[in-house]
Every structure is written in C-alpha cells, then in structure tokens.
C-alpha cells in the first residue's frame, strides 16, 4: 500500500517536468497551527491555486529514539513511536484534466513504520461525480503488565491479556451527479483486526495463558439515492454487511497455568491446545431518511431503519494434559469441544423531528425516537473427554435472548428573550423495557427490567457583537427506574461555555462541566461527581502568521462512591474512586519576518497531565520544533519530543523516552 501511494506522486512529478515552469505554489498548510487559528475567520483572501499541473509537498525524515527507558511494553501500549526512516507526510493536488476530473487530491501521513498510517483520496468532477477514499492502519498494541493488578508480586497475571495487532479501516464512496436533484451513491467500507497476542484458556480450577491469533473483518456495501426537491429531501439506502472472525488459540508444551499448588493431589497442566473459531455473519439493512419544509415555519424530518444481522459460529477446541472435569469430578487427559451456534438480531429504529417557528422569537423542537432490538440465539455443545477410564460424552443445548425496547420523547422551546439572549426549556422522557439473561445463581430463565426517566432541560445562550459568547445547558432528573445501579438516577448536569475577545487577536475562554448522580437506595448508595473546569488564552496577532500563543489549563475531578457485594461473603463493601487531575497544554509558534531570505519558524510547548487519587499519574509530553527554509520549496524540520509516564502505585509501568525527528519537506 505504501508503495502504491508513492508511485503516483513521482509519476505526477515526472509528468510535471514536461510542463512549462510552474508558478510557486502556496505555502503548505502549517501543521503546527493552533486550534484557535484553525477556527479563526476563514481566509477570504486566499491566493489563486498555483498553475502547475501538480502541486503539493512531501516530507521525508528519520526519527531517533532514545530508550525507551523503563517499561517498554507500556511505552508501546501508549506511545509506540519507533526509530527509523519515515514518510512524515505527503500530499499533492493535480491540476484539472478536462473530462476526467476538476479536482484530484491525495494525502498521506506517517508512513514508513509509524503506528498510525493514513491516506486520503478526493477526486471529483463538478456535477458529475465525487470519489473519496480513506484508509487508516492503526497499530493496536496492549501489553500492560498490571492491567489493574497492583499486586505484581503475588501472581503471574501479568501478560495474560495482551495483543500486538493492527486495525485497518477503508472507506470508499462514489457520489454520482452530486448537487443535482437526484444523486445516486455507492460505497464500500471495511474494517479488519489482525495480529497476535496472549489470552487465557480457562479450564475448571485452572487458567492457562496461551498464544492467540486475531483475524476478523467486516465489509459493508451500500448504495442509495438522494432526491433533493425544493421542499423535500429523501434518502433511500440499501446496505449489506458481511463479517468473518477466524480467531485461533494454540498452546504447545507443558503449561502449569496459574494454579501452582496441586489440586486433589494432582498437578493440573495443559500440554497442547488448539482452539478455533469460525464465525460468519451477514446483515441487510434498509434506511430511509426524509426531511421536508411543508410550511415556511415548519421543518420536519424522520428516519427509519431496519436491519437483520445474523451470525453462525463453528467452534472446536482440543486440549490434552492433566485436566479436571467437574461434571464427573474426575481428571482427564484429552478433551474436545464442538460448538455450533446461531444468532440473529432484528433491529429497527425510527426517529421524527419537527421544528416549528410559530412566532419570530419562538422556536419549538419536538423529537421522538424509538429503538427495538431482539436478539435470539441458540447453541449446541458436543463434548468428549478421555481419561484412563471410559470416555465421557456429553452435549448441551442452550438458547439465549435479549430484548430491548427504548423510547425517547423530547420537547424544547427556544425563545429570543433579548436580541442577544436566547433561553430554552424543555422536557425529555425516556422509557423502555429489557429482557436479559440473569445470573446463574438466580435460577430464573430470564430477568426483566424497566426504564422510566423524566428529565428537565434548560439553557441559555448569549452573544454580544461577536466578542462575547456564552452558553449554559442544564438538565436534571429526580430519579425513576433504570437498568443498572450505576445508571443516571437522581442527577443534574451543567455545562457552560464562555469566550471573550477582549482585545484584537486575544481570546479568553472558559468551560465548565459538572455532573452529579445519586442513587440513595441503601443497597446502592451511589454518589458520583464529575467536574471539569477549563481556561484558555490565545493570542493570534495578524491571524497568527508570525506569532501565535495558545495556553490551556483544565482541572478535572471524578469522585465516585458506591456500595457493592463481596461475592465471597455477600457482605457490603465500598467501591471508591477518586481522580483529581490537572491538564495543561501550551503551544507557542514564532515565525519572525524573513531577513535576507532566512525565515525560521520555532514552535514549542506540549502537554502535561497529573492526577492524584486512586491511580496517581504524571504524564508529560513536551515538544519543540524548528523549521528552516533551505532553498525555494525546501524546508528542514527538526522536532524534539519527550514522553514520560510516572505512576506512584503502579511504578513498574513507568517509562520515559527522548525522540528527535529530522525531516526535509519539499513543496512545489
């Protein structure tokens, strides 16, 4: 794939050589632009595109990594940047070619060994077609030694749930006749997960860490048509999904598992294991969206979707060793399990929105949503265990069911109280029911629950001459019925935002969020608080062309207390979680005016996160970057980054690493 990306660029470059000397291209997008810069007023004086057949940039470099020192597995699980040559970024645009396309753009980032590769293609011809393709390859590595186990010295539960995998996603969409009153489209999407890792083979009384290979993929094909009439817009879509999962678990050699002491006088062990999953699934779905303006003061829209996914599973496992079978209360040396299973899950959902403006200052929005899901499944297990005595043969047929009905109705009324002030209020009611499989201890076939929650809504937004903008959203519920002990019960939630452009190019902003949730049931006694306060300051003189400064600070707090039952004693225990966090980000970008053709650019800053409480953590990511133009269209970049994770309780997870990326960027 990476070679395919590079080839068209050089072909394009070769073609470009035959053309008249092009005018210099516009400067490349500044990768270090601050968020505030990105949101500033759109550039209304953009220069015309360069006349060259092909324009764009390519950046090649080499990353030097010192270390990582400390726990390399945690480093790979969180940062995962390695040393070596890199295609840092690559993008080019091709001049319109008559009859083929008006716009051709290809972008690629972080290729050549980095854990996150992406590419994007965008081609179109106005009024005829638009083709977009997106590809991402993300390393998905997880080898966290503790995995929430602070007692590292007590057990060997260190690497029993880990994986070194990749997730690849691709999306391709072709829109025909875009912008016309009728526009068909076709699309294909794929995601896949593959790689290796470690998992557990659980056998009665013991667990054995074994090698695991992951391999699954989902393909989605869909096509539809958009119909745009003056007052009605309709989308009809028919789609289908295919899914496969071919996971395998293998183990060879003596494996004594987690149980280090003999069980009933014998040392349990596993000598070989082959466990294979072959899962195949498909789904067809139909989607209809409609939006209309039947009256000048009324907009309505709705959506209906029906899907019917199903899966078939073939599973077999063959294990040898000294293993224990509770059904016969005897040891065995060889066993096989064969399971076939089927599941299907009809899923229908519909929503309707009406927005009415009966008066100039009044707006009423009504929203209704329903979602119904019904999973029915069955499985048949055939097992055979062989020991020194007679073989044990068994079979077990099981069925399972999950029924969910969810409904939501919400009404909100907006009123322009003052020219600069809009207030709103409303109400949301959610209700539903669920039928689920209960715990084994209950002895029940099924368990049911109900949902019933009334929530009050309020809010206000204020803006004044584009210099001051503020908004507040509040919702609260006094409790009803919900499915889980941790669900929202008696809660209130407040979110406020404000920003003030107090001087030209200066902006001060603040955000606040707080959620309180309580459940006074004496067996639950939930008390949950989550709070975050953010202040940010930005200075972008001259739209940040020469200097930009962005400073942000967030103070966050999560405090949760809830009772639970200790499974061993059924006594009440307290689960307490506390996190007091501080997060800061700074990015300062300096690009002094060119002197004698020398125009370096310096950026520095980074981020830090520190927290105290249940998992005290310090995570630092400072950076500095220097860009120096060497010649026309050629720029030398160097970037230094430092990663450091430090945890006081889980100190064995700590790591630190210095990194320098040196690259050359060529732009034309």
């Amino acid at each position: 794939m990476r070679h395919l990306l590079i080839v068209p660029f050089f072909i394009g470059m070769a073609v470009a050589q035959d053309q008249p000397a092009p005018a210099p291209a516009a400067p490349p997008t500044d990768q270090s632009a601050t968020p505030a810069a990105a949101s500033s007023t759109p550039d209304q004086t953009a220069a015309p595109a360069a006349d060259s057949v092909i324009s764009g940039s390519i950046e090649l470099g080499y990353r030097f990594v010192s270390g990582p020192y400390g726990n390399q597995d945690v480093y790979r699980s969180t940062v995962n940047l390695g040393q070596g040559p890199r295609l840092v970024s690559f993008d080019f645009t091709v001049k319109p070619v008559k009859k083929l396309f008006d716009h051709f753009e290809l972008q690629a980032n972080s290729w050549g060994g980095d854990p996150y590769n992406s590419a994007r293609l965008d081609v179109d011809k106005t009024g005829l077609y638009r083709l977009t393709a997106d590809y991402r390859n993300t390393a998905y590595f997880n080898f966290l030694p503790s995995f929430a186990d602070p007692t590292i010295s007590s057990g060997i539960l260190l690497t029993q749930s880990s994986f070194d995998t990749h997730i690849r996603t691709s999306d391709v969409q072709l829109d025909l006749l875009p912008g016309r009153w009728i526009s068909p489209y076709l699309a294909w999407s794929r995601d896949s997960w593959f790689g290796g890792g470690t998992t557990i083979f659980v056998q009665s009384r013991n667990n054995y860490p074994v090698a695991n290979s992951v391999s699954d993929s989902t393909d989605n094909f869909r096509g539809g048509v958009q119909v745009s009439l003056p007052k009605v817009h309709v989308v009809l879509e028919q789609g289908g999904t295919t899914f496969r999962d071919d996971q395998g678990v293998t183990g060879n050699g003596l494996n004594t598992g987690d149980l280090t002491s003999p069980y009933l006088g014998q040392q349990l062990n596993l000598t070989s294991l082959d466990e294979l999953y072959r899962v195949r699934g498909d789904s067809l779905y139909t989607k209809v969206l409609i939006a209309a303006n039947p009256l000048t003061w009324l907009n309505v829209s709705g959506q209906f979707l029906y899907a019917d996914p199903s899966l078939t599973t073939h599973y077999n496992a063959a294990a040898t060793g000294t293993l224990f079978l509770p059904e016969t209360f005897a040891f065995y040396n060889s066993g096989t399990d064969l399971i076939t299973a089927d599941a299907n899950m009809p899923h229908s959902s519909g929503s309707f929105t009406a927005e009415a403006r009966p008066l100039k200052k009044l707006r009423i929005v009504e929203y209704w949503n329903t979602d119904r899901l019904h999973n029915a499944a069955s499985s048949l297990l055939t097992e055979q265990y062989i020991s020194t005595g007679s073989p044990f043969l068994g079979s077990d047929a099981a069925t399972d069911r999950l029924v969910l009905n969810y409904n939501e109705q919400q009404i909100e009324i907006f009123y322009d109280l003052l020219p600069h002030l809009t207030v709103r209020g409303g109400e949301r009611y959610e209700w539903g029911d669920a039928t689920v499989r209960p715990s084994d201890l209950s002895g029940l076939a099924m368990e049911s629950g109900t949902l019933s929650r009334n929530t009050g809504l309020a809010g206000a937004s204020f803006r004044f001459r584009e210099k001051v903008r503020a908004s507040a959203d509040f919702e609260a519920s006094s409790g009803g019925e919900e499915y889980f002990r941790t669900s929202l019960h008696n809660y209130w939630k407040l979110r406020t935002r404000a920003q003030w452009d107090f001087l030209p190019a200066w902006r001060l902003a603040g955000n606040f969020f707080e959620l309180h949730n309580e459940n006074p049931d004496p067996l639950v006694n939930l008390n949950f608080v989550s709070r975050a306060t953010t202040a940010s300051l930005s200075w972008l003189p001259n739209s940040g062309r020469n200097v930009s400064v962005l400073l942000e600070y967030t103070r966050s707090n999560v405090n949760s207390n809830i009772l639970y039952l200790d499974p061993g004693t059924l006594g009440t225990a307290l689960s307490a979680y506390l996190e007091n966090g501080n997060s800061a980000t700074a990015l300062i970008d300096l690009a002094p005016r060119a002197m004698h053709g020398f125009a370096p650019r310096v950026s520095f800053g980074g981020s830090l996160f520190t927290s105290a409480g249940s998992r005290p953590t310090e995570y630092y990511q400072p950076m500095a970057r220097l860009s120096i133009p060497l010649a026309k269209g050629v720029q030398w970049n160097s970037e230094w980054r430092w990663y450091s994770l430090s945890e006081s309780i889980y100190a064995f997870e700590n790591f630190r690493s210095n990194q320098v990326l040196v690259s050359l960027r060529y732009t034309r």
């Binding site: 968020p35 980032n109 929430a148 002895g443 109900t450 002990r485 459940n519 061993g568 979680y577």
Partner: protein, 309 residues
Amino acid sequence: MHLSRKCFQFAAAVLLGTAAVSAQEAAPAAAAPHNVGSDACAACHDAITTPFAKNPHHALETDKRRGHAGFACESCHGPGSKHADSLAAIDIVNPGKLNADEQNKLCLSCHRNEMTHIGRIAGGHASDGGPGCVGCHSIHGTDHRPMVVHAIADQNKLCASCHPSIWAEFQKPYKHRLAEGAMSCVGCHNPHGSGTETQRVAFANEPACVNCHGAMRGPFTFEHAPVRQEGCLACHVPHGSANPKMLTRHEVRFVCLECHANLPAAQATQGQLGGVPPSFHDMRSPRYQNCTVCHVKVHGSYVDHTFLR
C-alpha cells in the same frame, strides 16, 4: 488633556450620529437595494472572486436553475447596489460578522435538508448557541468540496479550539490517538448533529465504535446486556483516561462489581440487573481481581454464556 480630547471626540460622534439619523428621517425613502451582478463585485474583490471560480458555490453563478445565476455573491451577501455606490462595508451583508444563528439561517436556507458526508444537518452545531457554519467551513477560499480542512490533524485542531476540556482528555496516557493524528473527532461525532445525540452512528444505527472495533458488532450468541443497553461508555471513557484500557475505574474488578452486586430478583425495579458472581470469586486473591483475564469475551461471546471463551 488626553481625556478631554476623547470626550470631545465622543461628543462629536454623538452629534454627528444624531445628525445622520435626523437626515435619514428627513430624506425621502431611498430606492431599495438591488443586485448588481458578480462582475461588479469582481471589479474590486478579485482576490476573492478569482479563487471562488473553483469553489462549489460557484455553481450558483452558472446554474440558472438555482435562481442566482450571475449574482452568486449577492445570494449570500444580499443586494449590492448600495455598497457598490458607497463602497462602504456597512452597506453590504458580511455573513462572517453575523451572529451564529443568523449565519446558520442564511446557510440553511439552501442546505437545511442536505445530506453531508457523515450525516444530515439536523441540529447540533447548527442549533442555537453553536459556532455557526462559517466557524468551521470556509466559504470562499478553498476548492475542497466540503470547504472544511481535510487533514485529520487540522480537523482535530478545529474542534479543539472550542472544546478544550475534551482535548485535555486526550492528553491522558490511555486514549484514542487523536493528538497523534491517527483519528479524527468526526470519525465518532457528527458535527451537524443527529437528534439529541452527538455521536455518529455506524451503518445500521450501531455505535460509531464498531466502525473500527468490528469484532464487537455482534450479534453474539450470548450478549453482555449492558453493551447493548448503555453502550461502550458504561465501562470505558472514550476520549482518554488515566486507567488502562480507558476504563472508568483504576481496577477492573470495580468496573464489574459496581453492577454485579445484586441478589437475584425476578423483577428489576431500580438498577437490579447484574447479579453477584458466585462465591468462589475470592476477591482477596489476585487471581480474581482481574475479571477480564478469565472472562475474555466480556463484550459478548459466540459460544459461552459466562464469556470465558
């Protein structure tokens, strides 16, 4: 001295303003502004109109069926005759200086029902108090079809400029890789809104998470009910966390036991779903403190109702 000069300037401005208002009242009603055509605009604003020829909105200029042929500029900026005469900025509508609601009203007069690449314009940012369409979209200066930044890193910066507290969550050690440019905010969220939720949905109204984590899509033979009832957020913090696997708690057993702490009941009324595990789960032993080490298929299993395989 300085103060008195300012006072004088202020007084003069008030007097002039009053005079101007009086003059307007006295003068006969001026002729209603009318369209002058895009060529007239180009005479002064060629830096805008030249690249605008590659802009999707340029279709307004050429397509007679859209009702603005020949005066695409004035389809958003309003009739320009007064501005053309006076050359004063105050005599023309500048959508970039309108408040968000007025901006949206202007854009949505054509785009209200439109499908976007990731959804339909149905609220969210386009509702009251949002940033306004031009807060994200560049109307003149790009030929990118959606007229918004394409690069993933640039998209994330755009979102972070208004959502700094969310961006701060991505600075935690265990997070989705947005800061690294591997993912984009719009991969999971629909900025144009979809009903009351901000989360983007996958093809068949599944949570956006399964777009990448397809193995969690199901249907499973044995479902873990909370995954369907409350979604991934029941156990995970999607943006970033100090806890491994982006869990809501620092130890995985608390994530599980906070729900699995009910004595069996036939009819759940107030948070009663989730029965207590069997008693051999001795929480004093590290063997039982990492629930998902044994219950490896906690998101749902194809073959085992206890999620052991």
